[in-house]
């Protein structure tokens, strides 16, 4: 298991925090349970990549240092929005090793709002859920997205 918590307000997180206030990130329930000022990184094995609406979900099994296991659930965007962001239903399959970066749930449940994922083949997909829409007008005081916020490589089609 590799869980790194950080309270440092990363520039990306700052954008997402402001974006959450200004842009809808969820269709039918609120994103408020997630602490957007924090970022966690989790390495694990894909159990299920659910390509669905209103939100896609990624379930990852992580192995802790003591040998026990945990299942984490990461909420991602709607299928259409993910597809526009270069994601694909075939990006992940059970057994893939991935590293997920997410905003954790406030109550400490093993749930996160998926921001970035490094796939088994090394590709990185960004901002699966909280990304502001293309052409969005940044709220006053918003920090510009960090370099490389766009997906590092388009998914093969």
């Amino acid at each position: 298991m590799n869980v790194h918590g950080s309270t440092r307000l990363l520039s990306l997180s700052a954008v997402l925090v402001l974006a959450a206030a200004a842009f809808p990130v969820s269709a039918h329930h609120s994103a408020a349970p997630f602490d957007m000022s924090k970022s966690i990184s989790i390495q694990g094995t894909v159990e299920r990549w659910l390509w669905a609406n209103p939100h896609s979900w990624l379930y990852v099994r992580v192995e802790k240092a003591d040998g026990s296991q945990e299942v984490w659930g990461f909420e991602a965007g709607s299928t259409g929005m993910l597809a526009r962001g270069g994601w694909n239903a075939a990006d992940m399959k059970p057994g893939d090793k991935v590293t997920v970066t997410a905003a954790p749930e406030r109550t400490g449940n093993h749930i996160g709002l998926l921001n970035k994922i490094q796939l088994a083949d090394g590709r990185v997909l960004n901002a699966g859920f909280g990304a502001p829409p293309p052409g969005a007008i940044p709220p006053p005081g918003a920090v510009p997205p960090p370099p490389g916020a766009a997906n590092s490589a388009p998914a093969p089609r």
């Binding site: 206030a21 269709a27 609120s30 896609s56 929005m81 093993h110 052409g135």
Partner: protein, 274 residues
Amino acid sequence: MIKQKFVLAIALYSAMLAASATAAEPLGSKWSDVTKLPDFFTGNWQSNTSFLDSSSNVPLTPQALAYIAQYKPVEDIPFAGPNCKTPGMPIIQRLGSPLKFFYEPGMIAIYIENSSMTRFIKLNGKHSARPNPTFLGESIGHFEGDTLVVDSVGFDDTLLQYGDLPGRGSGPFVLPPDAIFGPHGPNLRMVERIRLLDPDTLEDRLTIYDDTVWKGPYEANSGRTFKRNRGENGWPHEWVCNAAETLIYDPSQGKTIEEDPAEVLKRLQQKENH
């Protein structure tokens, strides 16, 4: 002399007929009109303004104030619910997925990707005598220059944002501004003015008329804007609510329950195995 009068009469009659024909066929009546309309149709439109209204100075009715006084902050956004029930107009157009416009003579349709719903706006027509209630309303549109003016009535149980209660929220799902949503009255009417601000920016200015909520016309924000997606990103996608297993909505508590992901995964895998 008689011949001249006859020619003049024919000319006048022709002119009257031509004027009559023009008046009978306002913009949006013919296929060829599509070349005269503002280009709402290329690609799709992604909302880039909040789905919540900013504070308004329009005074609320005593009925609405009484509703706010007894209002209990919600545990989730008020339109959360089982089976992804649509929030309807006006919220549904402002959520995270884009809008796609289509035209045929006498109609503009707007595909709302979020919920896979389509609004059908009848151009240059009249409202029904008794419109049945719907979540998008019965919409009649016409062009005033380059602005599409859409008048909608006949709403089902869609919600209106009465105002905000900053800081009163207590539940984990409460939205940042603690927005108060409440029911609409029987004569709810929405008027939208839709136009291009530039080739890639669409504005939708909405005025709401509901004498059970506001004492006058209520204009929500200064105008919501949408950015155009072109090319591959401008293509509409299907949106079907098919992830009901991942989130359980409890109507008795009025909130969404975040379960242990291990339990959700088990349920998903059991479903796959059957």
